[in-house]
């Protein structure tokens, strides 16, 4: 029988935990590498234009500076699908912060001094970085991120809205947001005997290898990419970023190992950001609360380097039954850095707007916001008409309400004060799609009674090593300690990247299958194993990515209590609670950490995180951790995460849905709705900083 710690859902301790708490886990810059050089990039100092001349003489004169790569002489790259990686290839400056040179030196100090000594002359051009709903350059893209159609329409939403008895027509704004994983994007590259070895901080070393093979026109066999320990990513390390390309170029040029560790304040311009979104929400409802029309229209920006469209209107295609609906995206290309994935792209800003508007509708109707959501529970997925593989949103709302003592709430706003503080509570729903990609895994039984599972999964802090080992031990019916697991290297069987909350499902499936085969092989034989043991493999191609006849999503509900200080304008979260229905939870300990971590980021999105594209200079004003305030200890109260059991046979052999992103979805809406309940004022632009609160409270 399996040990208790092996059983699915058991709170097994993180396998690499001991390495991490003792400082022995090595991240991308930390592998001993004799003769290694350090590099420092030079970011463009204009928002649009061309480099006309780069003078590197002064830099090259500095002691320790080895070389300077510029667009004039950097190694040429072949085309890739990602134009943000075409660094140092031409003189064009598409946005401020785009790298125009790289200084490589014997030490970090010399590289940094060298970068300051590089003189760059520009021919600057007029730039435009300001997003408006009516910007003339705006267009309807073919698709939004994730391959979703830009526009979907059912029935006659405009007419249905116009004739609805109760109407809400509101605009919400979410500013640009930055991922800021604690480990900045870092790569160490080394060429040796025609082979390239890369240690990088990435959510998927397989993708890094494929892109490098493309850019440098190499066989993948000649490239090894390791990403054993990764200091967070939150989407910004999903595909390679310029640090990878620069490190490989510099290593090629110098013949020595080179580390490119991007300085923190350079990140916002080059690693992607959550694009700002302007939302218009129109909700029409009958007196019983049933939606008659739902229109969610989103305007967002992208860069001139490549198109990325934050799919913020897509959650409205999943959430509520409305006879008529329109969900649409419009994008404006500007001279801004290229946006990309940040934890729950689409859902995070989209559900902030939708769930805030639902709260406004509940108030208009005089209905409880939980009941309003329950009243709009659809039979099938509204947009596709597909049946849900499982959907327990109502259970999450009810369970959350029970745990939060929601029933004791006085629904009238601004009825609860403690001295200068106004207190309020709010609720919002959450959703996140189930995503899975094909992957391979191998499993081996060794003569000493242990097992080795190998798969190029990434562990960016999610605990994937741990949960995959649990899956293996569970299938093999052996104690967890007897399973060893290797992840995080292209030397291992190829697997998909850690993104879209897809990891456990995508990797667990082939692990489950390889172990199932191995258990069968072992069951069929007797006597000792051969020296090299017995091995099996599995590959889920064609199955993990097959179309499902079901609509598959995780759901959840967030409840928040806030205190708004009427004197200082500060809003603080006092309680935060999430309940999720996300398939089978495979490790209670690490799952809770992911849910809570998502909620903390949602708290930041609600209260403190916001970036500004400076109109005059064209870059992000809040580019470092002093100016861009991610939540700190003092901002974060005790947070509760719970889940309801969900048995869904339409997913994968484990019955799991992703859990890495849903925690951030709707959290900011719950907090914003609580701020309204506290103050009686609607705040429709994030974050809820004191200036906005005071302006709202005083009406000035």
């Amino acid at each position: 029988m399996p040990e208790p710690a092996t059983a699915p859902g058991a709170p097994a301790e993180r396998r690499e935990g001991r390495l991490k708490v003792t400082g022995s886990a090595r991240y991308a810059a930390e592998h001993p590498s004799p003769g290694r050089l350090q590099a420092w990039p030079v970011p463009a100092a204009v928002a649009r234009g061309r480099v006309t001349r780069i003078d590197t003489a002064a830099a090259l004169d500095l002691p320790g500076v080895v070389t300077v790569l510029t667009p004039d002489d950097a190694p040429r790259l072949a085309e890739s699908d990602d134009a943000t990686l075409a660094v140092l290839q031409d003189a064009r400056v598409p946005h401020r912060g785009w790298f125009v040179a790289l200084v490589v030196a014997e030490s970090l100090e010399a590289a940094r001094d060298g970068a300051a000594a590089v003189h760059v002359a520009y021919a600057a051009e007029e730039h435009d970085v300001t997003l408006t709903e009516t910007h003339p350059a705006g267009y309807v893209p073919e698709q939004a991120n994730g391959g979703y159609p830009a526009v979907r329409e059912q029935g006659d939403p405009e007419a249905a809205f116009a004739s609805s008895e109760t109407r809400v027509d509101v605009r919400y704004r979410v500013p640009p947001l930055h991922n800021h994983p604690m480990e900045p994007h870092t790569t160490t590259a080394h060429w040796e005997d025609g082979r390239l070895t890369v240690h990088t901080s990435s959510q998927g070393s397989g993708v890094v290898r494929a892109v490098l093979a493309q850019l440098f026109e190499l066989d993948e066999e000649r490239i090894t990419v390791h990403a054993e320990h990764v200091g967070g990513g939150f989407g910004s390390k999903g595909t390679p970023r310029p640090d990878v390309v620069l490190a490989v170029m510099a290593a090629l040029r110098t013949g020595r190992p080179v580390t490119v560790a991007l300085p923190r304040r350079f990140l916002p311009a080059v690693v992607g950001h959550r694009a700002p979104t302007l939302h218009r929400l129109r909700l029409g409802a009958a007196p019983d609360g049933r939606l008659t029309s739902l229109l969610h229209e989103v305007t967002t920006h992208t860069s001139h380097v490549k198109e990325f469209v934050e799919q913020a209107a897509t959650p409205a295609r999943v959430m509520y039954a409305a006879a008529s609906s329109r969900t649409a995206h419009r994008v404006v290309p500007l001279d801004v850095p290229t946006p990309s994935w940040m934890r729950a792209p689409g859902e995070a800003p989209g559900m902030y707007a939708l769930e805030s508007a639902m709260d406004e509708l509940a108030a208009e109707l005089g209905m409880d916001p939980v009941d309003l959501r329950v009243a709009n529970e659809p039979e099938t997925e509204p947009d596709s008409g597909k049946p849900f593989s499982s959907r327990h949103l109502v259970e999450c709302l009810r369970e959350g309400a029970r745990r939060f003592d929601w029933d004791r709430r006085d629904p009238r706003p601004r009825t609860w004060a403690e001295g200068d503080l106004l207190i309020g509570t709010g609720v919002a729903a959450a959703t996140y799609p189930v995503m899975m990609w094909p992957s391979k895994a191998s499993a081996r039984a060794l003569p000493d009674g242990t097992f080795l599972v190998r798969i190029n999964a990434a562990d960016i802090g999610t605990g994937s090593r741990t949960v995959l080992a649990q899956i293996a031990a569970d299938v093999l019916e052996v104690p967890l300690e007897r399973v060893r697991i290797e992840v995080g290297s292209t030397e291992l069987p190829a697997a998909s990247l850690a993104g879209g909350s897809s990891g456990t499902a995508s990797w667990g499936w082939p692990v489950h299958e390889a172990c199932t085969r191995l258990a069968a092989l072992l069951g069929d034989r007797s006597g000792p194993l051969p020296g090299q043991g017995l091995a099996t493999e599995a590959d889920t191609a064609g199955r993990a990515d097959a179309d499902s006849p079901y609509a598959r999503h995780a759901f959840g509900a967030h409840f928040a209590e806030v205190a708004v200080d009427t004197v200082t304008g500060e809003t603080r979260v006092r309680r935060l609670l999430g309940v999720y229905a996300a398939g089978r939870i495979l490790n209670a300990r690490t799952a809770r950490s992911q849910f809570v971590g998502g909620m903390v980021m949602g708290l930041g999105m609600a209260l403190t995180e916001g970036s500004t594209v400076d109109a005059a200079f064209g870059d992000f004003t809040e580019s470092d951790l002093a100016s861009y305030h991610v939540p700190a200890h003092a901002d974060v109260p005790d947070i509760e995460a719970h889940w309801v059991d969900e048995d869904d046979p339409h997913l994968n052999p484990m019955g799991s849905k992703g859990i890495g992103e849903i925690g951030i979805v709707g959290t900011a809406a719950a907090i914003g709705n609580a701020a309204h309940h506290a103050t009686g004022v609607r705040f429709r632009e994030l974050p809820l900083t004191p200036d906005r609160i005071l302006t709202g409270l005083t009406g000035r």
Binding site: R14, V21, T22, G23, L108, V230, R264, G461, G597
Partner: protein, 178 residues
Amino acid sequence: MGSHSHGHHSDVTLRVNGKPRTLTVDHRRVLLDVLRDDLDLPGAKKGCDHGQCGACTVLVDGRRVNSCLLLAVCLDGCDITTVEGLAGDGEEPHPLQRAFLERDGFQCGYCTPGQICSALGAVAEAEAGHPSHVTDPALPSGRPVPLDRDEIRERLSGNLCRCGAYPRIVEAVEDVIR
């Protein structure tokens, strides 16, 4: 112990995790880079290099510092403890490291060495009677400050965790001060 200087470099001796280490450092070099790159002690992390994140926190003469803000040349003769030195000689991790494991006080682990060193520094400060922003002003001065959750949160606020492990970190710290 005098440091010998030659041009832009000087010799310094640091006692790192109990062992004297003599090296020649560039005057611009900060302790963090010395630890990570010269002494192969990558436990202290670089999150920002600007004193904004706390990932580089180590103990210098028992006090917590952001090692990215300290020039190594100024530390001749100092005692430096990094996360690698907390367990002592034994195999067993420090009780706070153990508590982080049990509570799952981390995810990616990149802020973790800083959180742990910072927490040990904070506990010592409270023990020595240093008040914080949230300390009750009525408490007698100079006496140990009891660390409730708000005190722990306040005192650890210089250590960012983008994975949002804060509630579990606070529990881990509570485990070792009880």
